[in-house]
Symmetry: C2
Subunit: 457 residues, 2 copies
Amino acid sequence: MADIKVYLSEKDIPRKWYNIVPDFANKPKPPITPDGKPMTPDMLAPVFPMNLIEQEASQKRWIDIPEEIIEILYRWRPSPLRRACYLEKYLKTPARIYYKDESLSPPGSHKPNTAVAQAWYNKQFGIKKLTTETGAGQWGSALSFACNLVGLECKVYMVRISYDQKPLRKTMMGIWGGECVPSPSDQTVFGRKVLKDTPDTPGSLGIAISEAIEEAVSDKSGKTRYALGSVLNHVMLHQTIIGLEAKKQLKAAGEKTPDVIIGCAGGGSNFAGLSFPFVYEKINGANITIIPTEPTACPTLTKGPFAYDYGDTACMTPLLAMFTLGHGFVPPPIHAGGLRYHGMAPLVSHAVREGLLEPRAFDQIKCYKAALTWARTEGAICAPETSHAVACAIEEAEKAREEGKEKVILMNYSGHGLLDMGGYKKFLDGELIEYRLPASEVSKSLECLKGLPKINN
Amino acid sequence: MADIKVYLSEKDIPRKWYNIVPDFANKPKPPITPDGKPMTPDMLAPVFPMNLIEQEASQKRWIDIPEEIIEILYRWRPSPLRRACYLEKYLKTPARIYYKDESLSPPGSHKPNTAVAQAWYNKQFGIKKLTTETGAGQWGSALSFACNLVGLECKVYMVRISYDQKPLRKTMMGIWGGECVPSPSDQTVFGRKVLKDTPDTPGSLGIAISEAIEEAVSDKSGKTRYALGSVLNHVMLHQTIIGLEAKKQLKAAGEKTPDVIIGCAGGGSNFAGLSFPFVYEKINGANITIIPTEPTACPTLTKGPFAYDYGDTACMTPLLAMFTLGHGFVPPPIHAGGLRYHGMAPLVSHAVREGLLEPRAFDQIKCYKAALTWARTEGAICAPETSHAVACAIEEAEKAREEGKEKVILMNYSGHGLLDMGGYKKFLDGELIEYRLPASEVSKSLECLKGLPKINN
């Protein structure tokens, strides 16, 4: 039998990122301002460096990966492609399940793929410091890691309740030199206002984003910018290295184009990273079922409308054309913190609209069951987010068994769960709650879209 | 430049373990009973299965690794050999530093190499359940993982204070189906006695070992045995797969025999696993400096005498000929829980006596500084135990720079620190304490050796 682990030599690492934008039959809707006008690059200049703003708007299919970024990525890339043969055997499935192991980066997920690129471009642009927000802590850890390697300061506003519940995430960021403060903080005008009005607030991603952007734009020296870990086009772009590597590795393993591709989708970046190079093949005629998986508790793609909405709760971002549950949506407290985002990357949303993707929702109990099956067969403990991909892979493998059909499944193993064991504890103790969002709550949450510009078709 | 990561194809995984015993010029002292008589295999039969007892006493140089064990190990083996080129660059050293990455096993350390083998041999012998103790939780996690894959029940007695401080270790074991109870427990005669006498005791490894052995030997069905994660000969044997892989990988990287080999040593198993195949070369004339590193807080090899002593605090084990601080030794509360053992594997101890090893002690502040340098150059966060190897590798690389001499350093990266971030927190907060054991405390602790049989030379 062939090796379970398919490695790629470092010299075969992809040298270009894949930008899906020029390959869509219909063009994605551009971001706009609240008065319905298209955003211009200069409007974003106080927040992001111009080289990343250019990537955000690029129409080029291939964009060179700078050699210095590749030198940093070699710490864990190319990541292994692995065959889940122990799971296959357990499921008695004729399907061959492959997974791209993104859990091996030092921060433990796919996030550093873009964190390193963003830090590097900011450094090139003369920036000295990056600010960002973090919820569960994955993105804040990844950006701290990246800033340390590139030589930037890093300031992370962490949602207070997570900051208090997971004090070791702050330690992880600190190991890489990142400064992590609970949000709301007394370090910004907005944070002080929130603290004054509601001293006991648990905080929110919306507040943390506002604080991080405020710090970036109010630095008079102009040497501070803000970084976002998902949603935006340039983030999807940087993550395509995952799928580009996977293509080479599948070929090395003697496989053709996979039949099914699966990734969990919160903001959309790990899903897009693996799938977009294969969406390209689908656009060009390949027969692939491509499935972004999401929680039934936050069913953006399966229950939300496609609409213009803000990327953040505080309405500071441009309006993005995306599937959304409304920027005011407060998701139930499921453990997959990275999948609790109200919106979805505009490029992933557009691909759904184009009929290229088939989103599917899973509830968290089914996901933890899948994660347990995974740990007891493959061995590793996956992140709660990743369990949404595992649940779908098992579902597809079982379908293949019932149909008696060979099938190649490719999944993104986006991260490990070693720092998020609290959900497993609840699951093992039988205390986990299943959430399915009722339609009435979705309608209520969508009321915040009233008065915003509509999408013209 | 060659790849930073040197992978070995699965078909090139070693097919035999290396047993160092027949290669020593002088034979190691056998384990004895308290009245000075040699232990016989049948005395150990209630505790271990006979196939492992045979390995414990084996004089054969090479022992076949059963194919079924190899099939399990493929989940993470062969482990990568990595070049620490980012650290080298930072240190401006002419040394080439390689490290064997044992942190990639699902439980996160080298421990599963022997856990899987022990579980498999017990299963072969008809055993249904393994019991063990765990301090920090690494070994309990590894044995739970292994028992799940082989199909055995697993019961772990975890020192109560660690159980309370690290509730997620119990969760980790539970994910793999292991049962973890705080020790002292009410499930054994000995545990109930301790609880009655000292209800508020924090517990100790000694108590936990006693409980685990009691449960194993008192199972009337004879289907329960006990497993130990270090110290014993068969454990060292199973770990030699690390060094045997490293040899092949160094060759693939174009390197000859390394000049310096480093591993941290608590009970001795990760150190022996990497180094023994190279100690063989040293016995046969190679010029290698082989360094087991230990904490100044528990300086077994650097301050302890070579003597017969018990392996556990409760004096239930045979007497082992080893370097020891005395079985009653209570180590200061350093964060490297795996290096707080009072003794040292008899085979490692014997190799020191034979002049083959050069032990070195490091204090924990120096080790955390080294770990921080590692995280900020190589990227990953190492276990507190592993930081004792990292500190030594940095010391040797700096020496090479001062001497202007090329040198190949090989280190065992025994585990990650993602579940042990508390020590990093204290270090970053400036609250870490440095411990150097005064000679007077060593003398006091060694009083418990009085009355035990002496080693005749």
